[in-house]
């Protein structure tokens, strides 16, 4: 296919709030920190922002139209996905299309969430011994209660609830199909924690061992506690503009070299790739794009040129399936691939160098985009991947962006 948008759009600013388990601040308040810091980073002011895409609105997050009114932004263009974490790349792609088409000049892409504010809502007194309820799933399972059930396989009729349960279903099938084990899967959160130990912004920084993982409680078996990401408060934003404009701003430009949109249909289940055989997927062989096919060809790179890989790590198992979906290893080989420090600090293919959703914070993937940009600017400090030129955001659910270090104009 022809590809005319390569390197025509760029990330010009990044910004975040504090991240924490319970910051005691509203989502809109946190959003202002992220947007304001992103504008300052770019050498802009909030008045320069005329577009916005939000990926996680109410009831847990801040909505785009409310943000515009509350923060005094005059938006020519805005859009918002439903309150669901998978739309990070979709938001960036829509922002890039908007600036390329002249619909906006500078688009803020973000999520701002305050899970703690939600669980602090007044509740009637509970009898002693009442189990503590999780912040997602159960009676608050809005996903599972909708027509057709939830996007992660939720079906509350059978007690099937929470995004992690769908990931557990994939993990069990993976273990059965390939003979992999939970102890092998532990390598993923252990590696991401090692990255997070180098990141002062990370909520979880203390070292994690395979033994810690194996002795942590089962939540939805076969997944243990440390296979699950954090649930926290925080906001993170990036600013997207044209590459031409980005070159005139304060930071080295990071361009969008190529992207792959988010697919849907019966071939897809959010936590597995086509052919894996979950939900109504066929149970067949899967063939990943070749090293110079698809997004790699459009970006003009070989997969071997990718210096670091970032993925939406809501659960450890999806990092394995992302590696297989994008051809970094063959189906069934991820358990072996992720051993020996390959995806950890200084590894052959570092993944989620900020610690990801598993150890830094859950900001719907926006913290990942920020870290990608830091790496490609050479601003990642002790976590810097030496000479990083190309970084791929690539997810188990099939969307991707290859970002390129474009330097100063």
């Amino acid at each position: 296919m022809s590809w005319e948008l390569g390197d025509r759009t760029a990330v010009c600013g990044i910004g975040q709030s504090a991240y924490g388990r319970s910051l005691g601040r509203s989502a809109i308040d946190l959003a202002a920190d992220a947007i304001g810091n992103a504008a300052t980073d770019a050498g802009l002011t909030p008045a320069d922002i005329d577009g916005m895409v939000v990926t996680f609105g109410s009831p847990l997050g801040a909505d785009a139209d409310t943000l515009a009114q509350t923060l005094g932004l005059d938006l020519r263009f805005y859009n918002q996905t439903w309150a669901h974490g998978r739309f990070t790349a979709t938001a960036v792609q829509h922002a890039a299309l908007a600036v390329a088409a002249g619909m906006a000049d500078v688009v803020a892409c973000l999520a701002a969430v305050s899970f703690s504010a939600r669980v602090r809502r007044p509740r009637p007194p509970q009898p002693a011994g009442t189990p503590k309820r999780p912040k997602l799933g159960g009676s608050s399972d809005a996903e599972g209660a909708r027509e057709g059930g939830g996007g992660h396989g939720e079906d509350p009729v059978y007690g099937m609830t929470s995004p992690g349960a769908g990931a557990a279903l994939v993990a069990q099938k993976y273990f059965d199909r390939y003979g992999a084990t939970s102890a092998q899967l532990a390598e993923v959160p252990v590696a991401f924690r090692a990255h997070a130990s180098l990141n002062d912004d990370a909520i979880m920084r203390e070292p994690l061992t395979i033994e810690d993982h194996q002795s942590s409680r089962l939540v939805c078996a076969p997944l243990h506690l440390f296979d699950y990401c954090l649930v926290n408060d925080g906001a993170a934003a990036i600013l997207v503009t044209t590459a031409e404009r980005a070159r005139d701003l304060a930071q080295p430009a990071v361009t969008l070299a190529a992207w792959e949109p988010l697919p849907a249909g019966r071939r897809e289940f959010i936590w597995s790739y086509p052919g894996f055989g979950i939900a109504q997927q066929q149970d067949t062989d899967y063939r990943a794009p070749g090293p110079s096919e698809g997004i790699y060809g459009r970006a003009g790179v070989d997969r071997g040129d990718i210096d670091a890989l970032f993925t939406y790590d809501a659960f450890s198992i999806v990092a394995w399936l992302a590696l297989e979906r994008w051809g970094y290893c063959e189906p069934g080989e991820a358990a072996e691939f992720t051993t020996g420090g390959r995806i950890g600090p200084g590894g052959e293919l570092p993944m989620n160098t900020h610690g990801g959703l598993l150890s830094e914070a859950h900001v719907m993937g926006w913290n990942h985009q920020i870290e990608i940009v830091r790496q490609l600017r050479g601003q990642a400090g002790p976590r810097q991947v030496p000479g990083a030129q190309h970084i791929q955001w690539a997810n188990v659910y099939g969307d991707s962006i290859i970002y390129r270090a474009a330097g100063r104009g």
Partner: protein, 143 residues
């Protein structure tokens, strides 16, 4: 649970719509029924207004064999719903029906530790309330 009157059934109930009502009505009559395309024969689930393979709108609700294999399963160790507190740890299973579609349910008559991917299952009907019957599965030849 079959002794629970409908007013006391505390677990989440299905989201019954114009599309899936025949499925739930059939379960009340202890039948597992899905739409078979009149044009290409494809059996589809979840229920939908046209065939997911050929997009024909012509279909017939057809009783299925109730035979399945265990595609994957999970075991909940955390109590998300108060109404499941006494069931923890409980399993949820995704089964592949002999006719092709996958269905979410649970497996009864076997310990969670004995669940194995690929095991042969058959449907059982559990009248959990006066107005609600759930499809569950048990190992073939099991209790």
């Amino acid at each position: 649970m079959a002794d629970s009157p409908s007013t006391a059934y505390a677990r989440p109930r299905p989201f019954v719509t114009t599309l899936n009502k025949p499925h739930w009505d059939a379960l009340r009559e202890h039948r597992l029924s899905m739409q078979r395309c009149d044009d290409c024969g494809h059996v589809r689930f979840p229920p939908g207004p046209w065939c997911t393979e050929c997009h024909s709108r012509a279909s017939t609700w057809t009783d299925l064999s109730g035979r399945a294999t265990l595609n994957s399963f999970v075991v909940f160790h955390r109590a998300y719903f108060a109404a499941f507190d006494d069931a923890v740890p409980y399993n949820v299973a995704e089964v592949t029906l002999a006719e092709g579609p996958r269905l979410l349910a649970d497996v009864v008559g076997v310990a969670n530790e004995a669940l194995r991917g690929g095991m042969d299952l058959e449907v059982v009907y559990d009248d959990v309330a006066d107005d609600l019957t759930l499809a569950r599965f048990r190992p073939v030849g099991g209790p």
